[in-house]
Amino acid sequence: MADAAAAGAMERGNIIEVRGLSKHFPIKRGILKHTVGWVRAVDDVSFDVRRGETLGLVGESGSGKTTVLRLLARALEPTDGAIRFRLADSEVDMAVAEKEVLRAARRRIRVVFQDPESSLNPRMTVRRIIGEPLVVNDKLKGEALDARVKSLMALVGLQPEQLNRYPYAFSGGQRQRIGVARALALDPEVLLADEPTSALDVSVQAQILNLLLELQRELGLTVIFVTHDLSVIRHMSDRVAVMYLGHFVELGDRQQIFDKPLHPYTEALFSGIPQPNPHRPLKRIVLEGDIPDVAQVPTGCPFHTRCPYKQDRCESEPPLLAEVGNTGRQAACHFAAELDLKGEQELLS
């Protein structure tokens, strides 16, 4: 199913084209708050997202995946780069869009937040929370508003008659459904989901993921999905992008990446996936050291300090994200074509 969807997506072209996107945060010290350095949270990232696909963005905490998502929504101002959205009725560069253009684009590009605990105003009823984008953008009122809110609640599997309740009266999973309903309120084309299940119980996670999959299929959404959980990625995405220290290190079809990663970091990530069968644990590839300080990204390949396949060249020459052979897959490793890395199944002992 996912393969067919991906193939379909390819025909329909790109909906997002990101070029040279960077976000650098200044580090300020002292009484005068002068800048002593920069955190390169996202550094010169380029990628495309195909219409109708689900792109999974995966990486350790601090890898910049959430920053990328926030830049796409322009919740943060990018330092540099272009973020072109080819929406149904317009083309927008979110990196530089001015007020009115941004307003229009934000109706089409919506965010589902990580923690429904903090993304829903505790002082508002569900009616007002889901209704807020409708009130602000469409000036909906009274019965029209109620009807729309109720249909949205039904769409995400909530009981419409509970619209006068406050968020605290809902379980975590239900609260995230409220967050999804709110994101869907303006009929978006793109849904940006920032670890939408990481704050939830494992038992509820699957429900929310399935809800997102169903909605994507029903409404023809393009979904960009940030997570650190590879099993979620495997379940959700058509394509996967792996991030490390603000860089994309690998990007490609989900099944191919899981079968045979092209970047040593991806392989190391796979070896950490928990397996349901305790008698067949994965062969662990234990990386040396910690993830480097993002304020002092290593020269050359950012991964060379921990890479088991490191060679001299890696220390000085930064690899670029480029297509490997004719696979249609991209990796940022000098030796991507030569290394024979193991996929998830091969790592099983």
């Binding site: 934000r106 807020e132 509970q162």
Partner: protein, 388 residues
Amino acid sequence: MATASGPVLFQEERVQSTYDASQWRLMRISFARHKLAVVGAVVVVLGYFIALFAEFVAPYDPGAITFVSPARSNQLIPPKLPRIVHPDGGLRWFFVHPLVEMRDQETLMVTYPEDTSVSYPIRLFVRGAPYKLFGFIRSDIHLWGVADGRAYDDPEKVRLHLFGTDQKSRDVFSRILHGTRISLSIGLLGVAMQFVLAIVFGTISGYFSGPLDNAIQRLIEVLTSVPTLPLWMVLSISIPQSWPVIRVFFAITIILSLLSWPGLARQVRGKVLSLRETEYVVSARLDNAPTSRIMFIHLIPGLMSHLIASLTLAIPGTILGETSLSFLGLGLHEPAISWGVLLQDAQQLRTILFAPWLMIPVIPVILFILAFNFVGDGLRDAADPYKS
């Protein structure tokens, strides 16, 4: 479509009602659990009731001088409680004996022994000095008084001075009740002004960081670093002595609140700073909500409960401020009646020695400050019902 995994099991009436409960209802419920706060609230409400109906609740006109002649001065009469045990041994309804003024020939001290041959009962709703309630309801009915059949301005009128009289022969009890009016309302009015100033400056400072925030923060630092007492003195001296009581009252209120808003504004700023980064505010911003909507719908309601609690805790400060200013002679003067003005009489060592009852106005000051603190404590605990 997946069905809601809600707590369908618990949908009985009572639980349903807490699910729909608004923040204010949850606050009320949790406030009621704080017993001391409830007692404080009762005292506070009672205090404002007295302030509203002071003319009716007080038995005598607070400004009435009962001095008749040097031999019947009525000055510095000590406090006296009504009696229930009659000289003939029986128990009676509350009554009083008239007082006789005597001067000790050796020490020249004036004493007020009782004339136990006569007694007059205390009655509720008696006629006394006429007054105009709220400035337009004419009446002469007082909550209680001594029923001796004489008119209120008869020199022979028998009076009961619960808290004694002052050097000008006025009833201290009635004066304290009337003092409630200024002393408690200066707290409310001053705090209301602080509230507005704190919200305006705090929200602006917290939401629009940058040079504006910097300017406001430096202003606050300057204001808080000036020692209060000298500043009070300077500002008070600039109030002309010839101003009427009402105008002086407002001027003092403004002075007090101009000096005390910075603390609150800082709290508001801190709260706004943290609220601004919450995901629900970010999400409202991404919903295209205009800045005004974010401020009035998301930020200010979010800090309102905390602000109300802090303000309740700030009222005692204003009450104390007025009391100390007036005590030092920098605030209100006679004929205004406030607890601070009343305490001016207790400044001399001589009065404390011979007429300690002139210090009684300290008691309501302490009582109300404690009451406000308890209420504020309870409100603060109740302020965020979602935190528990």
